[in-house]
Symmetry: C2
Subunit: 308 residues, 2 copies
C-alpha cells in the first residue's frame, strides 16, 4: 500500500475527458455526454478538471455507427500522422487528437470513452493498457459495482499501436454497456453507464487524494484472445449463425466440442479449441459487415496492488 501512495503522490490525474458518440448509433454515451455537458456538477471533483466531447456528430445525425469508416479504429499514432487518411472519421480522429491529445504527450490525463453493445455484456470496464492505475481501478470497480465485468483487450499492444480513441489520453478506458439495440436508449442501460462512469470519477478523486479504501487483493477479469467469424461460403455468403445455446451467454464458459454455430442446413459446428474459453460481443450487430460472430477470452486475475 505504501507503494501505491507513492504512485498517487507523484502522478496525480489533473485532466479528465468523457467522450460519447464515438459510434453514432450507440445512444447511452451520446445522451450521457449531453447530460454531463448540461450539468457539469455531475462530473466535478476537487482534484481534477473534467470536460466532455461528442466524438462523431455526423454519424449520430445520420443515425449510423460511422459515416466513412469506424472512428474507433483511427487512432494509431502512424495513422494520426498520415495526411492521406482524410475521410470524415479520419479527419475527426486528427481533430480529437489535437483537442484531447496529442497521443503520447496528451493534455488529457485520463480519458473515458462510452460505448454500447447489442450483446448481453452488462456493464463492462475495458482496459486496453497494463499498469498500476488500471489494476487499482479494477479493484475499485469490482468493489463498488460487483455486477460489472472487467475486460483486458489487447493490453500487450503499446498505446501508439492501438487504434482505439481511449488511447489518446495518457490513461484511458472504455465503458461498454449492453444489451442495447443500435439507435435505442434504454433507461436501465443508461443508468448502468452513469453509475460506472461516476465510480471511475470517484476512483480518480481518491487516487489523487490518497484516500482509496482498502480494495480486494485481486479481481477476476477476461482477457481477449481472438475473434471467430461466422461460417461463410467460398464467395463470402453466410452459411450459418451463432448457436442459440451460445446467444446471450457472454462470459459463460464454452467447452471444447460445444456447438458454436448452426448452419442453415441444420448442421451444428463445434468449438474446435482445446481449452475452456469465455465469449464476448456475441452476435454484436456492428460486427456483421465483417462476419465476426464473437470474441473469445481467457479468464485471468488482476493483482490490484503493486508487488512488494
Amino acid at each position: 500500500m505504501s507503494d501505491f501512495s507513492a504512485i498517487a503522490a507523484t502522478k496525480p490525474i489533473r485532466t479528465v475527458a468523457i467522450v460519447g458518440g464515438t459510434h453514432g448509433n450507440e445512444f447511452s454515451g451520446i445522451y450521457l455526454e449531453k447530460r454531463y455537458r448540461a450539468a457539469p456538477e455531475l462530473t466535478t471533483r476537487s482534484s481534477f478538471s473534467c470536460r466532455t466531447l461528442l466524438a462523431n456528430p455526423m454519424a449520430h445525425q445520420a443515425n449510423k455507427r460511422y459515416r466513412d469508416s469506424d472512428l474507433n479504429r483511427q487512432f494509431k499514432t502512424v495513422d494520426l500522422a498520415n495526411p492521406a487518411l482524410a475521410n470524415y472519421e479520419q479527419s475527426r480522429a486528427k481533430v480529437i487528437n489535437a483537442e484531447l491529445g496529442p497521443k503520447g504527450a496528451a493534455k488529457t490525463d485520463f480519458l473515458i470513452d462510452l460505448h454500447n453493445t447489442t450483446s448481453n455484456m452488462g456493464a463492462c470496464l475495458i482496459l486496453t493498457q497494463p499498469g498500476a492505475i488500471y489494476n487499482l481501478l479494477a479493484g475499485y470497480i469490482a468493489q463498488k459495482m460487483p455486477e460489472a465485468v472487467i475486460s483486458r483487450d489487447e493490453d500487450h499492444f503499446k498505446a501508439e499501436d492501438h487504434a482505439l480513441l481511449c488511447t489518446v489520453g495518457t490513461f484511458g478506458v472504455i465503458v461498454e454497456v449492453g444489451p442495447q439495440p443500435q439507435s435505442v436508449l434504454r433507461q436501465d442501460v443508461l443508468e448502468q453507464m452513469h453509475e460506472m462512469t461516476q465510480h471511475i470519477l470517484d476512483f480518480i478523486e481518491h487516487y489523487n487524494l490518497g484516500t482509496l479504501p482498502e480494495l480486494p487483493a485481486r479481481v477476476e477479469a477476461f482477457r481477449y484472445l481472438h475473434s471467430l467469424k461466422l461460417p461463410v461460403s467460398a464467395n463470402g455468403e453466410r452459411l450459418g449463425m451463432v448457436h442459440k445455446n451460445i446467444q446471450d451467454r457472454d462470459y459463460q464458459p464454452i467447452q471444447p466440442g460445444q456447438p458454436l454455430f448452426t448452419l442453415f442446413s441444420g448442421e451444428e459446428l463445434p468449438y474446435e479449441g482445446t481449452e475452456v474459453v469465455y465469449p464476448t460481443f456475441i452476435n454484436e450487430a456492428a460486427y456483421y459487415d465483417n462476419n465476426l460472430a464473437l470474441s473469445l477470452n481467457e479468464k485471468v486475475w488482476i493483482e490490484v496492488y503493486p508487488e512488494g
Copy 2:
C-alpha cells in the same frame, strides 16, 4: 361450422407469396426467404402454389431499414398509381405491386410479409384487415402456437387505404418477431418466424381442403389504438425516455397514472389515459426518427367462427 365449409369451398387460396426484407436490416425474414427459395419443398403444399420475394435488396445491401423512404408505407392504391412518387422504395412498391398484385385484383391470394422488431414482442401475427379467414387463422395460430400473440392493426381501414405491403395480396398478414436488434440474426427468433410461417401455410392447406381441426371459439387479441411520442422540447430535442418499468413489457397492462416516461431531469411522466391499455413496439429502434415511444392497444376477442 357449416358456414365455414362453404367459405372454404367457394374461395380457395391458390397462390401464396412469402416476402422477406421489406426492411433491409430485419434479418430473420431475409434469411428465411432465402432458405425457402433454396428449399421450396418447405413451402410446398398440395392445394396452392407458393413463391417468395426479397422486397428491398438495395436497403439490405446498405444494411439499412430503407434507402429513400420506408417501403412498408408505400402501398396505398392512390400512391401506387402516382408516377410522381419515384424514389427507390416508391419504385420498388410499383414493381412489387405489378409482380404480386395489382392491389384490388391481385394474382396473389395470400401474402405473408416477414418482419422483426427490436421490441420484446415474441412471435406476433398482425392482421390488418377483418374477415372470416383471418378469424379462423387467429384460432389456428392460437391453437398451434399458444405463446404467439395476435394483433389487429388498423383493420378498420379499407385495403386500398392501407400503406402496408401485405395489403397487396387479396389476403395478407404480417409475421412480426422480436426482440432482435437490427442487423442481427438470432437463431431463436428465426425459428419462431419459421414456425409461425409454417403454421400459416398449414392453415391455408387445411382451409382449402376443408380439413381444419376444431378451433377455440374465440381468441384474445390486441387492437391498435394509437401511438405515443417521446417527450420533446419545443425545438424537437428529446427530453426523456421510456420508463424502465415499461421497457420490455410489451402486452403487459399499463394502468392510468402509471409512469410511462423518465425525463433526463429525473422527473417521471405518467400515463394520462383513463383506461387500461397494452403497449407494443416499446422503444422500437426503427421508430426513433419520428420519436415514437410505443403503441397502445386494447384487448379484444376474436370470434373464430362465423355467427349463426
